[in-house]
């Protein structure tokens, strides 16, 4: 039975997380997290190392079983595409062979798949390297290729764990532009990242995770707040010096 409240939630939110709890061994890694990801937004989760970002992602993707709580998906739990922290490419194959290999797992019409793949490859400036073996790629190029393969699934919800990890500034701009375009195309994107400047530039909403709990969620008024200062104050790790002293 679907109650009126739930229907309303799904009208506004692509993913709803409610009271999620997870322990690994004796440690409570996720401690009663609740938040909602509105449709057609870029929602970012930031936090220090060990805060539980990756575990949270895995819970949302059902790679881990929750101890308590629930995750609701407006489009259905199969309509997610995920880019995980590690690249998973075949080093001995070329970039294009990798793209076509994963097509074998993700059922889609081949012609359309190839057209879309060529578009993303050009957009992320991998066209000159796409026929080279992945073993010759830099970390940034591998990350871009991994992202392309995930995007080609053409799912309404994208979950990206550290998408700009190890990427040069030019590529970061390309990925940021691509994410903005995907948002305009109606996608909902959940990001985790350590790169606060990137988060600041592209996110609509930001949640700060610390020790398995969300300590703050806010609407990101791009440029209006110093995210780094706010983040460091909230997690209480470093006393931020008054800028005037410099």
């Amino acid at each position: 039975m679907v109650c009126e409240e739930s229907v309303t939630e799904f009208e506004t939110n692509a993913v709803v997380i409610n009271g999620l709890q997870k322990s690994l061994g004796e440690k409570t890694v996720i401690n009663g997290i609740s938040f909602s990801i509105p449709h057609n937004t870029i929602y970012s989760i930031i936090g220090p190392n060990g805060a539980g970002k990756t575990t949270l992602i895995r819970l949302i993707l059902k790679l881990l079983n929750k101890d308590e709580g629930a995750v609701y998906y407006a489009h259905g739990e199969d309509k997610l595409a995920a880019l995980l922290e590690n690249d998973y490419l075949y080093e001995t194959k070329t970039g294009w062979e990798n793209i076509m290999f994963f097509h074998g797992y993700f059922n889609s019409e081949e012609k359309e798949y190839i057209i879309q793949a060529k578009k993303y490859v050009k957009q992320l400036q991998l066209d000159t390297a796409i026929d080279c073996k992945v073993a010759t790629y830099s970390k940034g190029m591998k990350r871009k290729l991994s992202l392309i393969i995930v995007l080609l699934r053409n799912m309404p919800v994208l979950i990206l764990d550290e998408p700009t990890s190890g990427i040069d500034p030019v590529s970061r701009v390309l990925i940021r532009n691509l994410l903005s375009q995907l948002k305009k195309d109606g996608k909902t994107i959940l990001l985790t990242s350590h790169d606060l400047s990137e988060i600041e530039k592209c996110s609509d909403y930001i949640s700060i995770l610390k020790e398995g709990k969300i300590i703050e969620t806010f609407c990101n008024d791009k440029g209006a707040i110093d995210l780094e200062e706010r983040f460091l104050k909230l997690i209480g790790e470093v006393e931020v010096e008054n800028e005037k002293q410099y």
Binding site: L61, N86, Y88, G104, Y105
Partner: protein, 246 residues
């Protein structure tokens, strides 16, 4: 998903380890058979012993070949996918674990059975078109059909069981060592009852030998299937994913 199986197979066919096993084993064992044939036929062994030797050799070589191919296939496909994070990526992108298992099983089964079929034909050809053709007349019996059936069930159940184990084993670095040693171990286990009977003075030949080996293979298959059933109850994305983390 059939295209992913085709791609795995295409990859493996170009894999140096696999080609080495396929061609190397064929050349070395066939050379050995010719040498054994010359020395045994020149000796004064009773016909029964000669018959047993060559039939035993035939079954041992087939099973040994299969075990080496399985271990190579699993190491190159399953272990490689696990270590690279591809398994986790596929699970995160809603490829079910059952589908993954099925793809691996079908791929490895095909990669093992095809060379074995060719190998069996070559061996039978050597036996038929030589002084061993009289042995072959006795060896052509219904028992061999039981061997084919037993071997078929044994191969599928062994492949599936090893894949299950590989995907949940935490210490990935020992998988490859276990696989290498277990190929010899399994061969010993399969032939041990026949060896025991020989030592007691009961030399099985023809129909009896084929039936005995088939029975051993089927008993082992039942054990493997029971192991699979037990593991399947607790099998989940979480078990596979958490085994990635050391």
């Amino acid at each position: 998903m059939k295209s992913s199986i085709k791609l795995y197979v295409k990859d493996m066919i170009k894999n140096p380890s696999y080609l080495f096993i396929v061609i190397g084993y064929l050349c070395i064992t066939i050379n050995s058979i010719f040498k054994v044939k010359s020395s045994i036929l020149e000796s004064d062994m009773p016909e029964e012993v000669v018959e047993f030797t060559f039939q035993y050799l035939f079954f041992t070589l087939i099973i040994g070949y299969f075990l080496f191919l399985v271990m190579t296939g699993i190491s190159s496909i399953v272990v490689s996918d696990k270590l690279s994070g591809r398994c986790e990526m596929l699970l995160a992108n809603k490829v079910s674990i059952e589908l993954l298992m099925r793809n691996y099983t079908i791929t490895i089964f095909f990669l093992c059975v095809l060379p074995i079929f060719i190998y069996a034909v070559v061996l039978l050809g050597i036996y038929s078109f030589s002084e061993l053709n009289e042995i072959m007349d006795k060896a052509w019996n219904v028992g061999n059909l039981f061997f084919v059936l037993g071997f078929f069930i044994f191969s599928l159940s062994l492949i599936k069981m090893i894949i299950y184990i590989c995907l949940i084993l935490k210490r990935v670095e020992i998988i490859r060592s276990i696989l290498s040693f277990s190929s010899i171990g399994f061969l010993f286990i399969v032939m041990a009852p026949v060896n025991f009977l020989c030592n007691q003075g009961w030399i099985l030949t023809g129909y009896a030998l084929a039936l005995a080996i088939s029975a051993i293979l089927i008993v082992l298959s039942v054990i493997f299937l029971l192991v699979i059933l037990v593991m399947k109850k607790n099998y989940s994305n979480e078990r596979v994913v958490l085994s990635f983390r050391q």
